[in-house]
Symmetry: C2
Subunit: 269 residues, 2 copies
C-alpha cells in the first residue's frame, strides 16, 4: 500500500507509470491514508491534516492519470501550472484502488469517486468488515457509478500440507508482528493467537490449497468480492517457500475458487 498522505502524488504516478511500462501494463496503485504514522513527521506533515492530506493528494493523483498536462493547486503540495508529467503508463487509466483498514469515511470516498476498494483485513474477524463493503456499494450507487470491484487483502501462505503451511508461515509472521508490536505496545504474537487467526473465521489465510480455497470462498459469501490478494513474504520468509506458495495459489487454489464462484454467481470472474 502506498501511504499517499505523506507521498508526493507526482512521484508516485511517475514511479508506477514506470513499473507499468516495464511490466507491459500490470501496475496498480493501492493508495491509503496510512495505518502507521511514522512517515508524517518524517516528511513534514501534521497529523491534524490526516484526512485532508489524503483527499487532496488523491485528487491530484486522479488528475495526473487523466491527462499528461496538469494545472492544480492545493494546501499540501506545490502547485502545478500546466506541467507535463512523464512517463505515461501503458494502462489508461492506470488503476487506482483506495486501500482501507476499516475507516468508513475512506470507504465512502472510494465509492463516491468511483474507485475500487482494497480492504486490508489483517486481524480480527473478517465478517466484521462486511458493512464496509456494503457502504462502498451504496456510495457508488448514490454517485451513479457502475458496481465497483472489491479486493480482500490479507496475510497468508499456501503449502502442500496444512501443517507445513502453518509451521513455515508462523515463524516469520510472529517475528514481524512481535517486532512491530514492540514499538506499538502490542503483546508478542503467540502460536495460540496465530492458530486463532488461521482458523476459518480468522484473518490470516494459511493452509493447504484446499483449506485456503475454502477460506477464500467462505469470505466470498460475506463480501462477494472480485479479488483476493495474499501477502506471503512477511520478514525473512524462505524464498523457495514463498515461490511455492505463489505457485500453489495460482495452480491449485485459484481454479477451485474460480469454478465455485462461477457456480454460485453464474458469472465468469
Amino acid at each position: 500500500m502506498t501511504v499517499l498522505s505523506s507521498e508526493d502524488p507526482v512521484r508516485v504516478f511517475q514511479q508506477f507509470a514506470t513499473v507499468d511500462l516495464l511490466s507491459h501494463g500490470r501496475a496498480e496503485i493501492m493508495a491509503g491514508r496510512g495505518s502507521f504514522i511514522e512517515s508524517f513527521p518524517l516528511f513534514g506533515y501534521d497529523l491534524d491534516d490526516y484526512d485532508e492530506l489524503f483527499a487532496e493528494k488523491l485528487d491530484l493523483l486522479l488528475q495526473l492519470r487523466e491527462k499528461p498536462r496538469v494545472t492544480w493547486s492545493g494546501r499540501h503540495r506545490a502547485a502545478l501550472a500546466d506541467q507535463p508529467v512523464f512517463p505515461r503508463p501503458v494502462q489508461d487509466p492506470l488503476p487506482v484502488w483506495v486501500a482501507v483498514g476499516g475507516n468508513p469515511q475512506s470507504v465512502v470516498r472510494a465509492g463516491a469517486l468511483g474507485l475500487p476498494l482494497a480492504l486490508a483485513i489483517i486481524g480480527g474477524e473478517p465478517a466484521r468488515f462486511a458493512p464496509l463493503a456494503q457502504l462502498h456499494r451504496r456510495a457508488a450507487e448514490q454517485y451513479g457509478h457502475a458496481p465497483l470491484p472489491v479486493s480482500i487483502n490479507s496475510h497468508g501462505f499456501v503449502a502442500d500440507t496444512s501443517q507445513a503451511a502453518a509451521d513455515s508461515f508462523f515463524t516469520t509472521y510472529a517475528e514481524v508482528m512481535t517486532q512491530l508490536g514492540r514499538e506499538r505496545g502490542w503483546a508478542p504474537m503467540t502460536r495460540n493467537q496465530f492458530d486463532a487467526l488461521a482458523a476459518l473465521h480468522g484473518a490470516v489465510v494459511v493452509g493447504s490449497p484446499e483449506q485456503v480455497a475454502e477460506k477464500i470462498l467462505f469470505q466470498h459469501e460475506i463480501f462477494g468480492h472480485q479479488r483476493f490478494l495474499m501477502q506471503s513474504s512477511l520478514g525473512a520468509a524462505p524464498h523457495r517457500e514463498v515461490l511455492r506458495s505463489i505457485e500453489l495459489l495460482g495452480t491449485e487454489v485459484a481454479p477451485i475458487v474460480r469454478a465455485e464462484v462461477v457456480e454460485r454467481t453464474g458469472a465468469a470472474t
Copy 2:
C-alpha cells in the same frame, strides 16, 4: 545521477539504503544539481535557488548517512526533530559521489566536503575537463582531506569489432540525442558528429575492446582517475547487445586497463 536539488534527501537515502541491503552493500549515490531543469517546476522549486537547494540537500543527505536519528532544519525541506530514518544501509557510510557536468563551484564543494567526484563527460573534448579534476584535488588538499577518487562517466558501448560497436550504438544514441535535442533546441545528431565523438579525443567511448581500453587509458593520462563508468543503454538498445557490451567491458577491457594502470602508477587499482 540523482537530481538531489529537486528530490527529498530522506526518500533518496531510504531508497538507496534499500538497494544497498538488496545488493549486499553495492549501492552508491551520485548526487547532482541537474543539467536538465524540468524537475524544478514539477516539484515546486525555484531555479533562483538552484545552488542553495543542492548545498542544503547535500548537507541533509550527509547527516542521514552519519547516524540514524537526525535533527535538521533548512529552507527547502521540512525540519527533522530527532527523527529516526530507516532502513540503514549495509555500507557505513553509504558512498555519496558529487556528480558534476562541468561546474567549478560544484567541484570545489565536493573536494571541500571530502566527497569523490563523478565527472560526466558526454560531449566535447574530455581534455577540456582536466582543470576540474585538478580543482577537486586542490580543494580536497586545502580542506585537509586525503586524496579523493574521481570517476569519468561517459556514454559508450563495446562490441566484438569496432564497426559493430559504432553501428549498434549509433542508432539508439542518435535517436535519444535527437529526441532530447528537439525539446532543447539542439540540431539532430548526425553520423558525422557521432564519429567525431567516438574518435580518441571525443567524449563517447565506443569500439572494440582494444579501442575502448586505449581510450580509457588515454583519458587516464589526463585525469589519473580511479573509475570509468560507461552508460551503454541509451534508449531502446537491444538488450542482448548491451549485455555483451557489459561482458566485454568486464572480461576484456578491464584487465587491459588495470594492467596498464598498475604499470604506469605502480599501484593496485
